[in-house]
Symmetry: C2
Subunit: 220 residues, 2 copies
């Protein structure tokens, strides 16, 4: 319970609620706290998403896979963070990413009925919930309509950025050169040349199917 009040205040889902509202929510909601150690899996791709899990403290690695698991992109997330809120309902209530604790981290989970109860009582919470899920839908849809750039380097950057949750920070793309070439419709040789040029500039590091980008915001 330590600092739960302060933690909740930082989370978009609870923004706009008064101190009294928050105290009332804390008093009447069953919060399940979980502690994770280094490399513990917090949520796994495919696992059922039947409650809302919020990362309260710690750093987390998130990996998303292509449908055929032919490539993956790893990113890093800091608390506070709501884990895949858009997968709590809808067609298929399952996580589509794996979240792993880097060091020590803590989560709190709110069950379906408690969540419905909070959204019953507090219109602001309900609006936040809809706003966040709508924003996720809008962001994902908008990615499909971005023009594909012409040159190889920009295509690689486009591929990376369109698959990221966040536009900044470190990313690790695990992909075979031939697969990346196929995804982008460029020759394997061109991909390799462009990656080499970016590596020479210190923008990324690549070897054996692993492309590490220390700061994706430096790629344009």
């Amino acid at each position: 319970m330590l600092n739960l009040y302060d933690k909740l205040r930082e989370i978009p889902l609870f923004q706009g609620l008064t101190s009294d509202n928050l105290m009332q929510i804390i008093g009447q909601t069953k919060f399940s706290f979980k502690k994770f150690g280094k490399n513990d899996i917090i949520k796994k791709e495919g696992e059922k998403c039947d409650n809302v899990a919020i990362l309260l403290s710690g750093d987390v690695k998130t990996i998303a896979y292509a449908d055929d698991h032919g490539y993956s992109i790893e990113e890093y997330i800091k608390a506070p963070y709501i884990i895949q809120l858009e997968h709590f309902m809808g067609l298929s209530p399952h996580y589509t990413r794996t979240f792993t604790s880097i060091g020590e981290s803590n989560t709190v989970e709110i069950g379906q009925s408690d969540l419905m109860h909070i959204s019953d009582e507090f219109i602001i919470f309900r609006i936040n919930l809809l706003n966040i899920v709508s924003a996720i839908a809008q962001k994902a849809e908008s990615k499909l309509w971005r023009p594909m750039p012409a040159d190889t380097r920009s295509r690689i950057v486009f591929f990376l950025k369109s698959h990221c949750l966040y536009p900044t920070g470190a990313k690790v793309l695990r992909i075979k050169m031939t697969r990346l070439a196929q995804e982008l419709g460029i020759s394997r040789l061109n991909v390799s040349e462009a990656l080499n040029a970016m590596q020479a500039k210190g923008l990324l590091h690549f070897s054996r199917g692993i492309i590490s980008v220390p700061q994706i915001e430096r790629l344009r």
Copy 2:
């Protein structure tokens, strides 16, 4: 008001509500009815989305544009249909598509405060709302992780399908051959050969930057 009760029953947003619930909603909600004639614009790309518009009757053409308006995809929608429910809230409450009435059609709009009021009173409505928006988010996200096929023909089909609201029906893609080649990373010549082969099989028709597909479900 004619048949509003029956119409609402067909709409996913109102599913699961009892007859009494629906009658109560009809009684206490301000519904704004609008009538459209041939080629009238119902909602325009960029227009503010400050209420929920439901197509009650008629057939509608919807067009979505690439960010730079370098291509567009036209699809057809039948009533009943909720128009871009995921754009009512979130980051940017604006329509991202244009909806045009093909013949005569009718819509009903529900304002923000009425919508909030219905979602206050009926938990089922609130769950439907969240379910629909979550499903839209999940669908859009999942499109990003589909493997890009290797051959030219499959890449063209992939491009078409990933930009469609519906996996079936007639679609019109307006795009220059060079742009389609750039989007897919294939040569203009290969694009043209693949389109010719598909046209010869009666799967589509193309001329002057317009690719018409009578039934996209026939493209595999």
